[in-house]
Amino acid sequence: MDTAQKRRFIRPCTFVWLLLMLLTVTTYLIGEAGLGGIAVMLAVLGTAVVKVQMVANYFMGLRRTRWLWRGIVLGWLLLVTGLITIAYLTAIK
Amino acid sequence: MSETFTKAMARNIFYGGAVFFFLLFLALTFDTIQTLPKRDHRENITDSVVRGKHIWETRNCVGCHTILGEGAYFAPELGNVYKRRGGEFIKGWIKSQPTGAPGRRQMPQFNLTDQQLDDVVEFLKWTSEIDTNKWPPNIEG
């Protein structure tokens, strides 16, 4: 891997790293403010989905692999967060 | 098969995973042992209860009955029999076996002394007081 390739490897990851930090701070502020409710729940969970996808695709390097591997992680993620959402919605009566 | 799938790595994961989960199991076991006194009321384990358990074992009761759901499924659950029937009924029942009713399941006669019968009842009474997370679902066991 030469320097140009290295830059193409690292640059997006650095960007992703900064974005992840930013999103974490957002989640933190929402938590500190004590916000709740469906919209907030969906926003925070949606943020987590985006963050996990970034970690999986960039840090773990799955964006360079066949769709199968990305599919497994994405499928897992959507299933888990989907069920969590359903559980939270059933709790609101 | 991919060439980046090595036996050495598979072996490391086997050893690592086994040790990791066994340690977790030990940690949970440690917590369980710490918590149990609140659930098993061990302060009520009298000498009589101890003797009763010994009789329970040496008559192989678990070969037909279940206790807290474990054992054979040929005869009724006895974890809660004290609550279901009471001590006097249990003693009378054991003494009157076998019924000899043709074609029915038979329980052997163990020729227990009155003291031994009391011990068995004490053991079953203590067992019925264990916090079993509300199992069995109803009094029939």
Partner: protein, 458 residues
């Protein structure tokens, strides 16, 4: 057979099959006692028959494991067994101890047997599956240690393959976890907690390592697939087994006085326990499909594939059916448990032993495979036994569902015996299926005596 000392496996296999036959006979007696309660009473009360049935099962499976190890280890280590004499001596000690124990169960009242054998000094008897008198238990430890010494020394002086390492690990684990059978506190909750360390960590832990190693060995031999590939998958499968199975012990800690969190740990991890069994099935079929040779022993291939499928169904699917705590609340200690136990034990441990015997026995008798006609007979026995165990499981499952419905649900639950009377039909059907199983077993034993044209080992 490449090494002369592998021959010590033969008596172990013969004893295993003989005891297997005994186990089935007592199973049939118990099955009949389920429908005609006073059958053979007081000659053989149900509890005695059950003790004989389950103890014979354990002992013959141990015989099978030991025979398998004596056959497999020299071939894997590429050296003669450390001491064939010790192996034969241990065979007789184990057989005599086992036989005396069974005779003791059948001829002496259990309480007298306990008093005679020092149970008052160290009380270990009278707990499910661990009913053996103290001398028998000590005998098992001695035989196990001598056996482990023998095969460990063999591996140490020879080639160390992954298969023999996994097998050794499983067998050492078997011996170590058996030591918990000597711990019997008077607190029933503690007693049960550590009783499972022997029982669960055997059948859903270290025994699966033994099973995996035996299956991998036979698959290498009959398919000719590259050892690296098979051993790699062996590691992945047993890694999954222990990752899920160790914490999976928690599915026994729902209702015995242990803290509530076990309902979560037990449910989550044991729900994942079918995964390694599923992988094993896929693995077995995959390897057979990628075979590089046509082994003349078709029966052994059938048993190997059958092990994968039936272990998955019995241990995986039937285990999963009642492993989640909210379900287990109703099914715990019912005929559902019995259904699962029958198919899981047959599918995993009976079948893997029969796979090994099917592969090794012809070799031990100087041929690479039995005659085609003997194999046809053996394959008939495979289908008869396997199909009848499926039916036994289905009938017991039906009985269990009905039992739970009548006895544990609704406003006016029936008493235990009243519920039993209602499900008698399924017990009759189960007993009928049991006789078909016996027929399969008879054919199986007959197949060893069936003459015919055989290929001799070059």
């Amino acid at each position: 057979m490449q090494f002369k000392s592998q021959a010590v496996a033969k008596p172990y296999f013969i004893a295993a099959i003989a005891l297997f036959a005994g186990q089935i006979l007592f199973g049939l007696i118990m099955g009949f006692q389920y429908v005609v309660g006073d059958f053979l009473f007081p000659l053989i009360p149900f509890n005695v028959a059950r003790m004989v049935h389950t103890n014979l099962l354990i002992v013959w499976i141990l015989f099978g494991f030991m025979g398998a190890a004596y056959y497999l280890i020299p071939e894997e280590a590429e050296t003669e067994l450390f001491s064939p004499k010790l192996a034969i001596l241990m065979f007789w000690i184990f057989l005599v101890a086992g036989a005396l124990t069974i005779v003791g169960y059948l001829t002496v009242p259990y309480a007298t047997l306990a008093a005679m054998t020092g149970n008052d000094m160290l009380a270990t008897m009278g707990r499910e599956f661990l009913e053996q008198p103290l001398p028998t238990k000590i005998g098992i430890v001695i035989v196990a240690l001598a056996f482990l010494f023998n095969i460990s020394m063999t591996v140490l002086k020879g080639r160390k393959t992954s298969i023999s390492l996994v097998l050794l690990l499983g067998l050492w684990g078997l011996a170590i976890f058996f030591l918990f059978s000597f711990y019997n506190p008077s607190n029933l909750v503690l007693d049960k907690y550590f009783w499972w360390w022997t029982v669960h960590l055997w059948v859903e832990g270290v025994w699966e390592l033994i099973l995996g190693a035996m299956l991998a060995f036979v698959l290498i031999k009959i398919t000719g697939v590259d050892r690296e590939v098979i051993e790699k998958w062996l590691y992945v499968i047993i890694a999954m087994t222990l990752i899920t199975g160790i914490i999976g012990t928690g599915h026994h800690y729902f209702w015995i006085g242990t803290p509530e969190y076990w309902q979560w740990f037990g449910s989550v991890f044991s729900a994942l326990e079918p995964i390694p069994f599923f992988m094993m099935t896929v693995f077995a079929f995959n390897m057979v499909n990628r075979r590089r040779r046509e082994h003349p022993n078709k029966a052994a291939t059938l048993w190997a594939l059958g092990t994968g499928v039936m272990a998955f169904l019995g241990a995986g699917v039937w285990g999963f059916l009642h492993t989640l705590a909210p379900v287990n609340f109703y099914t715990h200690g019912s005929q559902i448990t019995a259904a699962h136990g029958h198919m899981a034990f047959y599918g995993a441990y009976v079948m893997v032993n029969l796979t090994m015997i099917s592969y090794a026995m012809p070799m031990l008798r100087g041929r690479s495979a039995n005659s085609p006609s003997a194999q046809v007979l053996e394959m008939w026995s495979f289908w008869l036994m396997t199909v009848s165990i499926v039916f036994i499981t289905l009938f017991l499952t039906a009985a269990g569902i009905l039992q739970i419905w009548l006895q544990r649900m609704g406003e006016t639950p029936m008493s235990f015996m009243a519920a039993q009377d209602q499900i008698m039909l399924f017990y009759w059907l189960r007993e009928a299926a049991g006789f078909v199983f016996l027929l399969g077993l008879v054919l199986y034993i007959w197949s060893f005596f069936k003459k015919g044209e055989v290929q001799t080992v070059a």
